[in-house]
Symmetry: D2
Subunit: 355 residues, 4 copies
């Protein structure tokens, strides 16, 4: 292949526009060099990365690798729900808005119960204990699917981060009503980087039963980890993963990059950098006339209302970013590789194109 693609401008549409980080790639290459390896997860890299995750979380948890976040969340939820059960989440939860009915498909029908009227918390994408209780106690008849799980996203889809106390309060309420607590951690690394706490503190020590630990947005080419702190929930999960088409035959290519990510805290540095770039972007945007930032970013995204003319002008200039709700709401995501120069270039265009 001679005609390599040109290198492209960095964008802010999604943190999955970024490639793989050097550490993950290096591990992938080393894994490839190791010759023949048993397939389906019986390789040395899978064992090693799983042990590294157990060390990281300071607990003997069950670890499974799947290909993407939709699969991770859907399979984790299916492991906690029968088809006639239901899952409580926010209106902006990725499982509700961006997985094309994946959770319902994998569980064969479990309904998502969307918390409503969350007021202040809702505007920042967080579920509340009160919302859980309202939904659980609203109905108990057999004509309505019985709630079995509360699902929260950490960091949230609106760039905020649950504090340890918030997660504790949620798990307390979940346990009160015999719900399991699921954490969609597509950007778990960014949340931990923001909180500065140990991973154990914000997960199992705070009552989380299952964590879907996102690797892709953090710098992997492909792959997420499903981490069961409640190991009863992972009974026969290997079969579930296999049947659902989520068992990699050459598993080392999924697990070795995790070794690269976990080694020397690369995952945390990657996330910290992305968070810092979001802070830089946020501070810059506060200076842009007519731009209304929703809240100070806690993870790696900035959410703001921009004048429509500015949105159009930025798009015309080639900038990519999502409009996350109807109207003028825009989302700017920073990745592990987002450079200060890219942030500054975007800010410069925001200034110059704003009229």
């Amino acid at each position: 292949m001679k005609n390599t693609m040109n290198t492209t401008q960095q964008q802010f549409a999604s943190d999955n526009y970024a490639g793989a980080c050097p550490e993950a790639l290096q591990a992938l290459l080393e894994a490839n060099d190791s010759g023949h390896e048993p397939a389906y997860g019986d390789d040395r890299w899978t064992e090693r990365s799983s042990n590294m995750l157990r060390e990281l979380f300071e607990i003997d948890c069950d670890v499974y690798y799947v290909f993407n976040g939709t699969a991770a969340n859907s399979l984790a939820l299916a492991a906690m729900c029968q088809s006639y059960h239901s899952v409580i989440c926010t209106p902006v939860a990725h499982i509700e808005t961006d997985e094309c009915g994946g959770p319902e498909f994998f569980s064969n029908g479990s309904k998502l119960l969307v918390a409503e009227g969350l007021s202040a918390a809702a505007q920042r994408g967080k579920l509340t204990p009160e919302a859980i209780e309202t939904l659980v106690t609203k109905r108990s008849d057999i004509h309505y699917p019985r709630p079995k799980v509360a699902s929260i996203t950490q960091a949230t889809e609106l760039g905020t981060v649950y504090s340890v106390d918030e997660v504790r309060a949620l798990s307390w309420m979940a346990k009160k009503h015999k719900l399991k607590l699921h954490m969609d951690g597509a950007r778990f690394a960014n949340a931990v980087a923001h909180l500065g706490c140990k991973p154990a503190e914000i997960t199992w020590k705070a009552g989380v039963d299952v964590l879907c630990f996102g690797g892709t947005k953090n710098g992997l080419p492909v792959g997420e980890a499903v981490v069961f702190f409640d190991r009863e929930l992972s009974q026969d999960f290997a079969w579930r993963v296999k049947q659902a088409g989520q068992l990699a035959s050459k598993m080392r290519f999924i697990s070795a990059p995790w070794v690269g990510l976990l080694d020397n805290n690369t995952w945390l540095r990657n996330a910290g950098h992305a968070n810092a770039m979001a802070q830089r972007l946020y501070k810059g945007m506060l200076q842009i006339q007519g731009v209304q930032v929703l809240h100070a970013p806690e993870a790696n995204g900035v959410f703001a209302h921009l004048p429509k003319a500015l949105v159009d002008a930025l798009h015309a200039k080639g900038w990519k970013f999502y409009q996350f709700i109807a109207g003028s709401g825009c989302r700017f995501m920073c990745a592990w590789d987002t450079t200060q120069a890219s942030v500054d270039a975007l800010l410069a265009d925001m200034h110059s194109l704003n009229v």
Copy 2:
């Protein structure tokens, strides 16, 4: 990471024990170097590899990338079946024996109808037109799921390859009964290398509606292509893939290695090499006392009965290979990277350990 894993002995358990081939890896690295890329398949590598597949098959087919063979087969079959339909296959079909009910899961219940009494053909893992007709005409009442698809594996699970005439005869019978023809091509490359025909000849020109083109066993780290020659069948398939957790966010890491594989016919050389190694192994095994090879290999695997003592001795020596049926039947698979030295080392041990 300092303590790299030791390089291991080559094995004959599965062609997915091998790593990724240099061409695929190189393309992956180049794709990573290209900066930010749109996610979910809107990248330049996905477009390019899809066009390369269209050129390879000399037809404007629809191409989708998924993570593994179970997903490829299951989603393709689900696109052709409702839950109350059925799929005709052989007793040794991978979809029947090694996907843990994946096809039934993705289709929400489509039954696999296993052809019986295939006599000579069955011993070589092939479906026959007669077997299709027997199953289709056996029942037509609503208490039995209605056949909608005939599925064949090319190369078969027993290392044989359907000729163009055989596929034509199967598709003729399938069409006669309004069935679609699905080809599980986990080792499609090995079949083409054996046949020496154009890919078009053994697929759509012979009546195949959907091909699951295996990349992993051919030298990719991860990823298969679902190729729809009958483009009506791929209506809304993108949604199906997304819901089923098979849409890669950083798709370039799946598609770029395909570019590496397809460029300069690497895929065909990889397969041809694996086939040649199987031939070498086969010829050597013919010389081993007490070993009964089932048939001359046409693809990259040798199937043989070995004396139990020899099986045990080989295992004890560290050799890995599958016992594909009850009793003494053994399968030896060669990969794109299997060396003559590895084949010869296995043969030497077969000689020396045979008593």
Copy 3:
């Protein structure tokens, strides 16, 4: 059996508290007297009732009998949707609130998209063309299930009835966006009795593709009819019904009562009577101090806010009725057999127990 149960007071909790009407029972008894009959719908009663439905609707529609409304709706929707599609409905739609995820289960994951902000129409339980368009045009990406069906309930869950013009406007919008139009007709008879139109006018002539025609609430012991006006949608539907456990072996016991219901317009008289009783109850309730009726009933239910003390007193006195929403909202349903005396007794207690 000597010790027969005592006859109980008539209630207003649901129209399915009533038994079977004499005409339906008589037909059931006659069907039983006819000796041996072929099973699974190949009997004379099934043929006859299906033909009567075709005559009633003045079109050569496809008719299937299933056991209850959840199955009728769920199977009809599954026939129009793949798992990655979605169904538009109101927040009070029975398929959303009272089928325990049945539609998601039968379709293997199709999501219900609940129309929001319906303002005036919503308060009366009706879907609007604008709401359809809003939901269809909100998203078109593959991360969201693609809308394929708009579902309306006739009469609605809040006791209102869509006019012919309203259904036409809905189907026009549905067709504009290539959606099918499904009518949940659990109380279709009550709607027709209210409208005074021909069944054809409010269904296929107005653009309805599939009607789930409720028999149980209208006086059958068990059984609903799924009527396909768009006969392409019913392809292989017999297999779907069978697989889903909805094919009665002794079908005549489902279909013969339909003959009894359809003969001599019993179905319409039953519905008209129930509607009249709701009117009587409504007029009486207008006289009760502190009772706020939501709207004049158009079908067989009265929806009203009652003082909490009155609700409690009525319950204490043994009256059964549902509280259809949080707070003081109450639903009083009249059945085909509700007597004036029962209505008057309830009204009398409302008067006397009101303080």
Copy 4:
């Protein structure tokens, strides 16, 4: 309705060609006379029939009513299996051959593992402990669905009846491998009538975990009972039934006929009569030249090979019966209402039409 259908000749195609027995109908009519009853199973008849079943089985079992046998079996199996589990059964099991993939549909993919090579037992439709062990121990890898249930049909699809000792041996083997034991009792009554034992002896005392007790073939218009002896298996089963469209709104019309059937041992007399008619038919057929009866009937069906000319002649004369396997095998089923005259008429035609 004036033009009542003519009464038809009794047939031997299926025991569900018969109507409802007088006792069941009488109970249905009485239930209808009882006025308004709470819906969805909160009625007095459902409580009463459930208690009668608990008395009959001499244990505090959980009882649920569903509409037909496919639903009963499929829901019971789904309660014991996840989608990636499997169910062991015979090649002639109704769940395998006549439910159109219902078990796979309700469980979202659980595979049926068909026992092979059953030799003598297989010819009589029985599963054996050895067959269970063979299938359980054949594979234990994650590429194959893990067995969780052994399912037997009592009486079998070939008219034989498992003895108490046989069921005990099967349950011993099932328990050894941590399988649950499911009994498809579509003709459970005929089996008990044959064995002359107490229902408890052949079910939970012999290790059966769940029984699908067939009512329809025994004289009900519609309805089967799912009886959980292992009450842990029925957790949330009410939700499962509701979601799957199997919860009757006017439940009394399903449960009251059960009261009629259970009262005064009507169920046992019905079954005993059908069995006796099969014996009469069997003895008569032994006298017919060229007819080869497979085995002495133990339940209510006779299975025999008939000369093809005789089969054709009988069909031409209007007799209905199934050909249960390819070729000349015929099945003649007797029902609760089959008369001696009907049996004799069939035998007379067999004699006279035989050449």
